[in-house]
């Protein structure tokens, strides 16, 4: 919302503080200021001159040599003996006696001010010196017109400061629109002026015409009758209109063009400019129709405007040339025969005011903000009217605004009222009666003080509110507050709290921390767990990465996951981000190649994140479950792979076990080889990318903790993974459920341990785990009472010439809490063990 300081000053009866203080106060008490534009700088040095003489320049078909009168006020400029100043000018409309804006040498052409400033100098054109230039509206950045000089209407003193005379010694303060989402009144200069008065503690008085009691009286008969039919009073609570004739469409007077141009609007013609002027003054959009065009489209001798929904297959060409099929629920304006406008959004082309227009219908209506917003979104039209209507303009201000624009048009032109005032008013009678949208609000001063941390007297609060024209009845302890008719946002007591706080100044509130009991804040176990995982893995040399929660459908295809399980976005930014992911591993695999390519020869990456599937729903909330997961992938390129003899799987497993140790689970998990065909669709999606012969499910009891493995050749190929690549993915909820929060301590023994190695030659098919578990349970049962067993793998060996067997060597450590064990004792025990193992697995002790 662009605010002109000069414009709002017209409504203030006190001296504004210096600009920086004003801007700071607006920021602190009204809304964030995006930009402050110094218009004065743009127009500095420009002088109003009168063209005193003008003759054709020889040898030129369009240039004129002008002598202009600056009242002798400009210093440092070449003058003729007469004191006049010679300027060459190519404008067709230049003539003796006209007042124009002269840009003396040394000034900057305003239209070039922002980008590449063009600084004028005295220049010789075809042998004639031109001292600066005479300016068109476009050169002055006051409009598009470049047909000729901007003729300054009215009487002027030659030599006057152009900027000062036309109020361009101005600053434009651009306040963020977002702040005014609930403040339709602040989309007008008047509303902002009022707030500024309130902020600086001054009483604001709206101009007398801004009253719900305003009216328009037609003396005599209606010469150009108008009828309004409102078929949708729910969406169009108020529709006021009046007809004016004897209109002559011209360019606006310069003051009006300037007023609009300085807040960034393009002047069009006197009628359209005045409707815009009133919209930017009050926030209330207005629309002007060509009366005769409307009548021609109506059935009969009366012009008819109908507010309704569109009929089937109705099309509409808008003022901007765009043709639309209005959405079914849109508010459209029609005659009794045909559609002519998209109400509150944009007028239609068929009834546009143009240079031949002699009579107009002025419409000042109220439209449902939600409907306006939907139509705007549906048709992609974002007009100044939409910006204002979709905040919900007060339906109590229509007559005030309509009456004032009629006055302004009549002041500017010879226009005459030609119809009675039409006021289709569907606003609730009680709302009209009280002149406020909501009933008065009763509250105590302590209600306000409690919420602001203040101790203001009711009287102080009342003054703050009255300054911005609330009516307030109050006593020592309580207030009854009635909002003015233009305020649509004052419904609750909290709204009053906000007003008082804002007008008092939130930055002046006393600062104190809230007091609370010493109850410790509870910790979220899952967050703690994630932090632990993060620490353990990064300490193990892995790198935490974050990838998007959304993936490309192709990634599912590449890793063999079923898209049908995943939630799909209906409005994805791109196909890259179309599906919620089913697990994290594919996202990680997607980041391997780029890092290998970047020269990282070996690395481990992990991500802690969430997965979602259509099969996991929280039965209570009906929402998809948040599946908290951890994925880890280790990769090494060909060169680094040499450091890792053997399958990549074991590298991933080493990271897994390192992590599980932290949660006391290393000895509790079971690594279960994948059994093809044995999984439901979700589990299938989780194992889809693993190489069956080199992967496993990680189980704790009956619960699945996760999966681990190398990746299928198809996956490796599609995602350009190096051969040495493996990883795991865990369900963090399962980890949380089963993991221990603290480490487990085993008391130390005073006696030394005895370690001996034992090697078994077993069939190749026998898994390490099967043998180890048996060995462990045998040793547990055979070890001395009150003893401690430690069993570790020392070596797994297979001879080249005997692929049917492998040799597994364990290191057995035994300790007693009661005595020193002897080697002999342990040897005997291992002999017993060897016998059982042989019996069980036909294993030979080596």
């Amino acid at each position: 919302m662009k605010v002109s300081v000069n414009w709002i000053k017209q409504y203030l009866d006190f001296e504004l503080p210096p600009l920086d203080e004003l801007v700071e106060a607006i920021g602190a008490q009204l809304g964030a200021v995006e930009e402050v534009i110094d218009l004065g700088a743009r127009y500095q040095g420009i002088v109003i001159v009168k063209v005193a003489e003008c003759r054709k320049l020889e040898d030129s078909d369009h240039l004129n040599v002008c002598l202009v009168d600056d009242g002798g006020k400009t210093v440092g400029v070449n003058r003729e003996q007469s004191g006049l100043i010679q300027v060459v000018c190519g404008a067709p409309n230049v003539r003796v006696g006209m007042f124009v804006a002269w840009l003396p040498p040394g000034t900057t052409v305003p239209s070039t001010h922002a980008k590449e400033p063009l600084v004028l100098e005295a220049r010789t054109l075809r042998g004639v010196v031109s001292n600066g230039m005479l300016a068109s509206a476009r050169e002055l950045a006051l409009g598009d017109s470049h047909d000729g000089l901007l003729e300054l209407d009215g009487d002027h003193q030659p030599g006057d400061d152009f900027a000062k005379v036309f109020g361009l010694d101005d600053h434009i303060i651009d306040i963020e629109n977002k702040m005014f989402t609930h403040r339709p009144d602040c989309f007008g200069q008047l509303g902002v002026a009022r707030e500024i008065a309130g902020i600086f503690g001054h009483q604001f008085n709206s101009p007398a015409w801004y009253t719900p009691q305003a009216t328009i009286a037609l003396a005599g008969a209606a010469t150009l009758p108008l009828e309004v039919q409102n078929e949708i009073p729910g969406l169009v609570p108020r529709f006021t209109a009046v007809v004016l004739d004897n209109i002559q469409i011209t360019a606006s007077p310069v003051w009006l063009q300037v007023a609009l141009a300085r807040i960034g609007l393009r002047p069009i013609n006197n009628i359209v400019d005045l409707t815009n002027y009133h919209m930017f003054l009050t926030g209330q959009p207005l629309h002007a129709y060509d009366y005769h065009k409307v009548k021609a489209l109506s059935n009969g001798e009366t012009a008819v405007l109908v507010a309704r929904n569109p009929r089937a297959s109705e099309r509409l060409t808008l003022l901007n040339g765009k043709t639309i099929d209005p959405r079914q629920e849109a508010i459209v304006i029609a005659t009794d025969q045909t559609i002519i406008g998209l109400g509150g959004v944009m007028g239609g082309a068929t009834t546009e005011v143009d240079s031949d227009t002699t009579a107009i219908i002025l419409e000042c209506a109220s439209f449902d903000m939600y409907s306006i917003r939907r139509s705007s979104m549906a048709h992609g039209i974002f007009s100044d009217a939409v910006t204002r209507f979709n905040k919900g303009q007060s339906p109590l201000q229509n007559l005030a605004v309509l009456a004032d624009i009629v006055r302004a048009i009549q002041e500017l032109t010879a226009a005459r009222l030609a119809s009675a005032l039409i006021d289709d008013n569907n606003v609730a009678a009680e709302t009209q009666a009280r002149n406020a949208l909501y009933p008065p609000i009763r509250l105590t001063s302590s209600y306000i003080n409690d919420r602001l941390g203040l101790a203001l007297a009711a009287e102080t609060m009342a003054t703050l509110l009255k300054n911005v024209e609330f009516s307030v009845d109050y006593d020592e302890t309580s207030l009854t507050v009635k909002a003015p008719f233009w305020r649509t946002d004052i419904e609750l007591r909290e709204d009053i709290v906000e007003e008082v706080g804002r007008l008092y100044g939130f930055d002046k509130l006393p600062l104190a921390l809230p007091l609370r009991p010493l109850t410790p804040a509870s910790q979220d176990d899952l967050l703690e767990l994630k932090q632990t995982v993060r620490t353990v893995l990064s300490q193990a040399g892995a790198n935490e990465i974050l990838t998007y929660s959304f993936v490309h459908g192709k990634l599912f295809d590449n890793v063999g996951q079923d898209k049908a399980l995943a939630f799909k976005l209906g409005n994805a930014l791109s196909p890259d981000l179309q599906y919620y992911r089913l697990s994290l591993t594919p996202s990680l695999l997607d980041k391997i190649h780029l890092n290998v390519k970047a020269g990282y020869d070996q690395f481990g990456v992990f991500e802690i994140g969430k997965a979602h599937t259509q099969r996991h729903t929280d039965t209570e909330s009906g929402l998809p479950l948040e599946l908290d997961r951890l994925a880890f992938v280790f990769a090494a390129d060909k060169k680094a792979q040499r450091k890792h003899s053997g399958a990549a799987y074991y590298q991933a497993q080493t990271y897994l076990m390192n992590l599980l140790v932290e949660f006391g689970l290393a000895a509790k998990v079971k690594i279960v080889p994948l059994q093809p065909g044995n999984y439901d669709e979700v589990a299938t999606a989780n194992i889809a990318y693993y190489e069956p012969a080199r992967s496993a499910t990680i189980m704790i009891g009956d619960s699945v903790l996760g999966e681990i493995g190398e990746y299928r050749s198809g996956v490796r190929k599609a995602l350009k993974l190096p051969d040495f690549c493996a990883g795991f993915e865990l369900d963090l909820a399962a980890l949380l459920a089963h993991g221990l929060k603290s480490k487990q301590y085993v008391p130390l023994s005073r006696f030394p341990d005895v370690s001996q190695d034992i090697c078994f030659k077993v069939a190749s098919e026998l898994t390490y785990e099967e043998l180890r578990d048996f060995v462990a349970s045998e040793l547990e049962s055979k070890k001395p009472d009150n003893g401690l067993l430690d069993l570790g793998a020392l070596d797994i060996y297979q001879r080249d010439d005997d692929l049917d067997h492998k040799q597994i060597t364990f290191r057995v450590s035994l300790t007693s809490y009661e005595r020193t064990l002897t080697d002999k004792e342990v040897s005997g025990l291992l002999n017993d063990l060897a016998a059982s193992v042989q019996q069980k697995f036909s294993a030979e002790r080596i």
């Binding site: 964030a32 939130f506 910790q523 990064s538 935490e544 012969a693 050749s713």
Partner: protein, 350 residues
């Protein structure tokens, strides 16, 4: 493959062997040996050319088929004993080992989040994560955004094609405020026991925005909620100021600018004096001396009421802010897209 010509048979054997080891199987079709065979054709006497040429062509075809096969058919790896701690015949010094902790790293966003959460823990706030998929009620309805309200325009949300029990699409939350209602409900009982609700909510949020160096469609927010008896706007400003001073470990000035959120009233944009230049003006604060960091406000009575909390008795405040911004300012990170890039040259610096 059987070839009459011993020379071709030899090349065939050689190339088949090489194919197994090739990363990019197609390269086999560009092998010099194959090329040499083709070149040899025209050097041969006319009567031998036909047979020789046919065999070379057959070799090329068969290699082509092998390449196709290699590309479409899974090539299973030899099975291993997944229950073993290491592979067969691996010397102890070559067994799997962890990388040096020196190359390990924590994601900078998570690193910073931990710092932030720690300060709030110490201030008495409990933490809980927000979901990445939610419904319209938690995104808007419970937060006093009426259907069709223009304030919804500021939150360009992603929505799923699938719908919930009410026939509405699920929503990728555009703010962590989706948790406000849940937190209020969960801790309502505490409130009634005289213990204020104090919670911070970190979470990943999504906006349907085009990517550039300063805009991400995926980012992290931290939401905060405090509700109790006699909680006022001064408490809000003091709490945030206290946090920021602890975070930047220096005294700061703060200021508020009125703002509009449907779920707070009054609402503010919260700014702090630039901690990097002490308000003198620098590139981080765009020479203004101030950094706008958070949105905040007093929780709207409708939001409290929706969670079954009586706004006559209890009042509270809430705030929300992005984590990326903190991290980018702290380290001078120039491009927000690095965070989700997965690039180790970025990540290993943290």
């Amino acid at each position: 493959m059987q070839y009459q010509n011993p020379q071709i048979a030899e090349v065939a054997q050689l190339l088949q062997k090489r194919l197994v080891e090739l990363d990019n199987k197609v390269d086999i079709l560009r092998a010099v040996e194959l090329k040499a065979l083709y070149e040899q054709i025209r050097t041969l006497p006319a009567d031998q050319r036909g047979v020789f040429g046919q065999e070379v062509n057959r070799l090329r075809q068969e290699l082509g088929q092998l390449v196709d096969q290699a590309q479409t058919v899974e090539q299973p790896l030899p099975a291993i004993d997944v229950t073993a701690p290491f592979d067969i015949n691996i010397a102890p010094e070559q067994r799997p080992s962890l990388l040096s902790s020196a190359v390990g790293s924590t994601h900078p966003l998570m690193l910073e989040l931990a710092v932030v959460l720690d300060i709030f823990y110490r201030m008495g706030f409990t933490a809980v994560e927000s979901p990445e998929i939610d419904d319209d009620f938690h995104m808007f309805g419970a937060l006093n955004f009426p259907e069709g309200h223009p304030a919804r325009d500021d939150y360009d949300t992603f929505m799923t094609e699938q719908t919930d029990g009410h026939g509405q699409p699920f929503i990728a939350p555009a703010h962590t405020s989706t948790m406000q209602h849940r937190v209020l409900q969960t801790h309502k009982a505490d409130l009634e026991r005289g213990v204020p609700i104090a919670a911070v909510i970190p979470g990943r949020v999504f906006r349907n925005e085009d990517l550039d160096a300063r805009h991400e469609h995926t980012f992290y927010q931290l939401e905060g909620v405090y509700v109790g008896q006699g909680v006022n706007a001064g408490h809000l400003i003091a709490t945030l100021k206290t946090f920021l001073q602890a975070y930047y470990q220096k005294d700061l000035e703060v200021k508020t600018q009125p703002f509009y959120f449907p779920f707070t009233e009054p609402s503010f944009e919260f700014a702090l004096s630039c901690p990097f230049c002490d308000k003198k003006g620098c590139h981080i604060c765009s020479q203004t001396g101030w950094i706008e960091l958070l949105g905040c406000g007093m929780i709207h009575p409708n939001v409290l009421r929706a969670a079954g909390i009586d706004p006559e008795v209890y009042t509270g405040f809430a705030w929300g802010g992005g984590i990326e911004r903190l991290v980018m300012m702290k380290y001078g990170i120039e491009d927000i897209r690095y965070f989700e890039s997965g690039k180790l040259n970025f990540l290993r610096q943290f």
